[in-house]
Symmetry: C2
C-alpha cells in the first residue's frame, strides 16, 4: 500500500531522486525479436504481416483493410451516450489544438531579398491503437485530431484484430469522429514495420504515433529515422502538490486514477499538512475497496506510490520540478500563483475541480504527455508534432554581391574553398556583364 514519507528536506530529495531511476527497458531478447520482425516485413511485405498476425493474434482477417461500409455496420454496437460524449470531447480537443496551428511566413527586404519558413502538415501519418483492454477511444481522439488540424493528408490507423477477428467498435467510432481515413487490422511490431516501409496493402507513412506494448515501442525506436515517431512513452505518473486547503477524498481518488493504469505507474502526493497526508492515506484505504482495478492500484501504490510531508510549498515545488511529472495537480488556496514556479511538467491541473481525468478525456489539451521525467525537455503531443517546416531564400544579384566578401571569408576560414568558389563564379559573371 501507499508509503508515508514523513519528512522532506534532504531525505525527501533523496527519495525523489530514487523514484527518477525507475524505467522500463526492453532488454536484448525483445530487441532481437523485434529486429527480426522488422527485417522480415521489410523483405516480404504483406506475406510477413500475415504470418506474424497468424502467430501473435491467432488468426488472420481475410482482408487487412476495413472498408467504410463495414465500419458503419460495426459501430452500430456502440452505446449512443458514449458516442455523444466522445463527440463533445472531440469538439473540446479540436478547439484547444486549433490554437496551436502555426502559419507559414516570409520576410521581405528593400533590396529584393525574400526569406521565410513554410509550415505544412505531413503527407501521411500512421496511428497505432493497441487491442484488448488497452484499446482507448480517447487516445484515438488525442492522436488523430491534432494530425488532421496540422493538415495531414492521409491518416491511417492500425489495430490488432480481436479474438473474433474483428476490431473494437468503440475504437472504430472514435476513428470516424476524429477523421481517420483508413483502418487496417494489424498490430504489434509487424504493424509498425509495415507502416515504416509500406507493403502491398499498407501504405508507407512519414510518422508513426500512438501507444503500444514493449514490442511496438521497440519497433518504433528501431525504425526512428526511417520514419518519424512520437515520444517513447515510459511508465507514467501523477504528482500532487497540496496545502491544507485540499480535499483528502479528492487527493486519494486522483492518486488512484493514475495508479490503476499500470503497476509501474507512480502516484505521489507532496503536502505541507500532516492532517491532509493522514486523511488522504485513510481515504485511499476506504475508496480502493469499491474500485474494479484494486489489484493493479495496490501494486502500483506499493511500488511507486508515496505521500510525503514537505517543510513548505517551495520545497514541494522543488521536488516536483526535479521529478518533472507527466501530470501535476496543484490543490492549493491560490493555485494560479504556482504556474510560474513550475518548470517541468507535461500538463498542470490547477485547483480542486481540475482532476487529471478531466484532462485525460475531456477538457481539450492533449493527454499524450512526456513521461518518466522527460517533461524536462519533451512537450505534449500537439499540432506541431504533425508538421514539417522548411526555409526558403531568394537573393537578388545585388544582395549577393553585397554579401560576397563575408561569405568568401567565412568559407575560406573553414577551408571550404568550393563553397567560396560558388560565390566567386557569380562574382566573375557579374564582372563580365
Amino acid at each position: 500500500m501507499i508509503q508515508y514519507v514523513k519528512q522532506g528536506g534532504d531525505f525527501g530529495r533523496a527519495f525523489i531522486q530514487q523514484l527518477k531511476e525507475r524505467s522500463a527497458n526492453s532488454g536484448k531478447k525483445v530487441d532481437d525479436a523485434v529486429a527480426e520482425i522488422v527485417e522480415t516485413v521489410r523483405r516480404d511485405g504483406d506475406a510477413a504481416v500475415r504470418m506474424y498476425t497468424e502467430r501473435f493474434d491467432g488468426s488472420v482477417p481475410e482482408q487487412l483493410v476495413i472498408e467504410k461500409a463495414d465500419m458503419q455496420e460495426l459501430i452500430k454496437a456502440c452505446d449512443p451516450a458514449f458516442v455523444a460524449a466522445l463527440e463533445r470531447a472531440a469538439a473540446n480537443i479540436r478547439d484547444f489544438h486549433a490554437r496551436q496551428k502555426q502559419q507559414s511566413w516570409l520576410q521581405t527586404e528593400a533590396n529584393g531579398v525574400i526569406m521565410g519558413q513554410r509550415v505544412r502538415g505531413l503527407a501521411r501519418v500512421g496511428l497505432y491503437v493497441p487491442g484488448g483492454t488497452a484499446a482507448y477511444p480517447s487516445s484515438v481522439l488525442m492522436n488523430a485530431i491534432p494530425a488532421k488540424i496540422a493538415g495531414v493528408k492521409e491518416l491511417v490507423m492500425v489495430t490488432p484484430p480481436g479474438k473474433d477477428g474483428k476490431p473494437n467498435p468503440d475504437i472504430l467510432v472514435a476513428a470516424l469522429v476524429a477523421g481517420v481515413d483508413r483502418v487496417f487490422l494489424v498490430g504489434g511490431a509487424q504493424a509498425v514495420a509495415a507502416l515504416a516501409f509500406g507493403t502491398e496493402s499498407i501504405p508507407k507513412v512519414d510518422k508513426i504515433v500512438g501507444p503500444g506494448n514493449i514490442f511496438v515501442a521497440t519497433a518504433k525506436r528501431q525504425l526512428y529515422g526511417t520514419v518519424d515517431i512520437d515520444m517513447i512513452a515510459g511508465p507514467s505518473e501523477i504528482l500532487i502538490l497540496a496545502d491544507d486547503t485540499a480535499n483528502p477524498e479528492f487527493l486519494a481518488a486522483d492518486l488512484m486514477s493514475q495508479a490503476e493504469h499500470d503497476p509501474l505507474a507512480s502516484s505521489i502526493l507532496l503536502t505541507t499538512s500532516a492532517r491532509i497526508a493522514e486523511e488522504t492515506i485513510a481515504a485511499v484505504y476506504r475508496q480502493i475497496e469499491g474500485l474494479s482495478r484494486k489489484d493493479i492500484i495496490n501494486q502500483s501504490l506499493d511500488n511507486f506510490g508515496a505521500v510525503m510531508l514537505c517543510n513548505d510549498m517551495e520545497e514541494a515545488v522543488e521536488f516536483a520540478n526535479a521529478l518533472a511529472p507527466e501530470h501535476l495537480e496543484v490543490c492549493a488556496a491560490n493555485p494560479m500563483e504556482f504556474i510560474g514556479k513550475i518548470d517541468n511538467a507535461g500538463s498542470v491541473f490547477l485547483g480542486n475541480w481540475s482532476p487529471e481525468p478531466l484532462g485525460d478525456y475531456f477538457a481539450g489539451p492533449n493527454h499524450v504527455l512526456p513521461t518518466s521525467g522527460t517533461a524536462r525537455f519533451f512537450s505534449p503531443l500537439s499540432v506541431d508534432s504533425f508538421v514539417k517546416k522548411s526555409s526558403f531564400i531568394y537573393y537578388t544579384q545585388d544582395a549577393l554581391m553585397q554579401a560576397k566578401e563575408d561569405i568568401i571569408k567565412l568559407a575560406e576560414t573553414e577551408g571550404l574553398t568550393a563553397h567560396a568558389n560558388s560565390i566567386r563564379v557569380r562574382d566573375k559573371q557579374e564582372a563580365a556583364n
Copy 2:
C-alpha cells in the same frame, strides 16, 4: 567523375530510388565501444572523461573548463575580417530566428475555465563542436543562436582539445559571438555521456545538439530519452532543378560546394536542357582543377553525383520530392512558382543568385537541416528545437459538474473506474454541500 543520366521517366525514377537507399550505419562494433564509454562515464564521471580524453586525444588539459579570461586571450589570434564577417552573419541569423519564437497563450471561458499552453526555453543545452578540420565556426552560430533566442538559460559547449591541448580560436570566437556560456575541452562519446549524466565538472543538460563523427552520433542515439537530441545527421545532399535559363558555371560550382563536404555527399542536377547538362559537366571538369578539396569532390561525385536529363520540370519536381533533399536549388526563369510545388526539402534556394553557401553561412535561415530524405518528416533546427511546452487546465466547480456525465461515461467505457471515481467523489462532495 559525375555521372550523366540521359533519361528521366521510369529509368530516372529508379535511379532516384536507388540513391535514397544510401545510408551510413554505425555497426555493432561502434555501438559496443560507445556503450562501454557511456556506461563508464555514467559510473566514474570526470575520471572516465579524463581517461578517454587521454586515450583518444593524446593528452588531457589540466582543467576541462576554459575560463573567460583564457578565451579572451586565445581569440586574439583570430583574423579581424573573419570576426567581422561572423558578426554580420550572426546578426542575420538572429533576425531570421527571432521570427520563429512562439509565445505562451491561454484561453478563458465565460464559466471561469482557463486553459493554455506555456512555451519556455530549455534550462540547459549542450552544444557539441568537432575538432580538427570539421570544426566549423558557422555551425556554432547556427546551433547556439536559436538556443539563446528560445530562452535557454545556460548553453554549454564541448569541443575536443587540439594536438597542442588548446581549442581552435575560430570556434571560441564564434562561441562568444553567439552567446555560449561555458566551454569544456572534451570531445567524442565521452563528452556526450558527460553532458547527458553530468560529472563533477561538466553539468548535466536537457538537450545535446551539434554535429559529430560516428562515435558522437552513436552516443547521442543511445542516450536519446535520458536527454533530448537533435536529428542524427546522415550524409548530406544538394539537388538542383534547372531549366534552360540556368547558368552552367553556377550549377557546376554549387554541385561541387556540396561534394567537397564528404565522399558520401550527394550532388544531383535535374535539368530539362541537354545543353545545360553537358555544359555543366564540362564546367565541373574545368572548375575542379582549381579547388583544394579536389580529391573529396571527385570521390563524392563518383559515388553519388549525377546530372539527369528530365522530360519536363514537373518530372524534375516529382524526383526532388521523392529524394527530399537537404538543400534544393531552383534555377529557373520564375523560381517563385516552384515554392508551392516542393513538398519535401530542408531549405530551398530560389534563383541564380541564391547559392547554397549563401544559406550555409550568411542569409539567416538555419544550415542544420534534415538529411538523407528525412525532410519528408523532419524540419530545420529552429527556435522550436530549444523549447518545451506544457499545458494547463483550470476548471471551476460548475464547469466540472457540467462535464461530469461525459467524463464518467468515457472512463467507464474504457474500464478505468478509478478515473470515474475521481469525478464521482467530487460530485458527492457537491451534493453534500
